[in-house]
Symmetry: C3
Amino acid sequence: MQEIDSTQLIYAVDLTGTFVFAVSGWLIASKKELDFFGASVIAFITAVGGGTLRDVLIGSQPVGWMADLNYLVAILAGIVAAIFFKRLFEKLRKTMFLFDSIGIGLFTILGLEKTLSFGLSPVVAIMMGTISAVFGGVLRDTLVNEIPLIFRKEIYATVCLSGGILYWLMGILEVNADLQIILTIIYIISFRILSVVNNWSFRAIK
Amino acid sequence: MQEIDSTQLIYAVDLTGTFVFAVSGWLIASKKELDFFGASVIAFITAVGGGTLRDVLIGSQPVGWMADLNYLVAILAGIVAAIFFKRLFEKLRKTMFLFDSIGIGLFTILGLEKTLSFGLSPVVAIMMGTISAVFGGVLRDTLVNEIPLIFRKEIYATVCLSGGILYWLMGILEVNADLQIILTIIYIISFRILSVVNNWSFRAIK
Amino acid sequence: MQEIDSTQLIYAVDLTGTFVFAVSGWLIASKKELDFFGASVIAFITAVGGGTLRDVLIGSQPVGWMADLNYLVAILAGIVAAIFFKRLFEKLRKTMFLFDSIGIGLFTILGLEKTLSFGLSPVVAIMMGTISAVFGGVLRDTLVNEIPLIFRKEIYATVCLSGGILYWLMGILEVNADLQIILTIIYIISFRILSVVNNWSFRAIK
């Protein structure tokens, strides 16, 4: 997943995103009647589900996390952290939200770049970027037997899609690569914060 | 997905099938508490889910719709049409049913041919043809948290399976390729109409 | 799936495992409001789901059961047997449980070996072995709209994971290959029997 390694920073943030997704997966699973093992599996799937689907669809196998054990270490750390600091995480909602937003921003960009590197079109790349960011959560919700959150309330995926488009447009305009990444992340964080603060959502169809 | 291009007609009908599947996916999703985005995703998955699973299982990656943007255009058109002409589509149930039947017939044949072209056996090809036709609907139902329709009431898949066998037998008997396609489609449409008119279904197991 | 063919016995037990999984899939599906076709699909998915996911993730396509029709024959036999001997199977719970345990043991080992043969790390191989053994059941439960059993009550997967670790350790210690397989199977059977007898399970998280 180090397709863009303009800096080591990105790799670190990607691992951080994986860690945060594992934590959030575990916290959500722990509200269901799941045992320790089940919750860990859900945490794992939440963290790698998106990238795995992307890799399988574009034909990049073995899928990303299999080739670099650091992803498994990040997930394990997320599970351990969720177990020991459950209350802390529930208090630090805002911090978690920030990390989660950075995570989906990075996942969107990494997924987009990887898809382009396979010679596919920008439209498909933007979709794959979004899938990388959101599909883990979709799987998580489906496995705990709920209609995925993303299909019901939030404009979560819209943030990724529009962030992907923004990122791609900046690429066309030959914006500096670091700036391109930073601006996209800032855009995604701002959009998500605004949408939560203002309670934005698409109306359910009647 | 243009493995059989004995005519441009087939390509056009394949795109039409994709369009119709997107419409039906959107209409079904719109009855659930889904927002605009969620319903669009369900429409997309309904349209490409079957072909995607087939391509991943036989190892044809990147999967079909990624390589030809016309499929995305057909889906987008289906979503737009479903939004603006929702009532019309609900009135035109019979026309929709006809298109849907043509769609599953074509998807069955295309899936079967593509699988054979990968050197797999006819039995597997008939299964993959059926998966191409029905799996989109299975995913749609699973995502909106219902036991897939296909597992409960309809003999939908039986139509595809038997249609696939018919198509394959005609291939063995060296029937003219166009005739082979047309007869299979007619068989599938007739079988589905008869099954709906007569309310055929397998009994639930007790 | 004949990666380890130290004996024809393993191939036979693999097919037996497939048969048993198909039977158990059909029996569970038959308690839901599924028609004959739906129950057969669930039986099929239960039997091949794990190996299919493993093959797709590691990039071994077309997936295993497509290349060897004996797997389809074993599944068909399982479905036919489940239909005709439903009551018998329900009486023979203990025998079924034994076969099922042998099945998951074998599936774990075969999945682990296949993953190693693709040059992936032992940690990933143990995970893939476990996925081979348990994912069919996860899919089955998800499709019939339940939170997968494995996430709720049983320590099913723990058995596979620890069995995989044991098998791998014996490999490091250069234990004779046949012995390695037999001891792993005995371990898995014993662990499962003990866990059921003693009603072991992880507590649900509160």
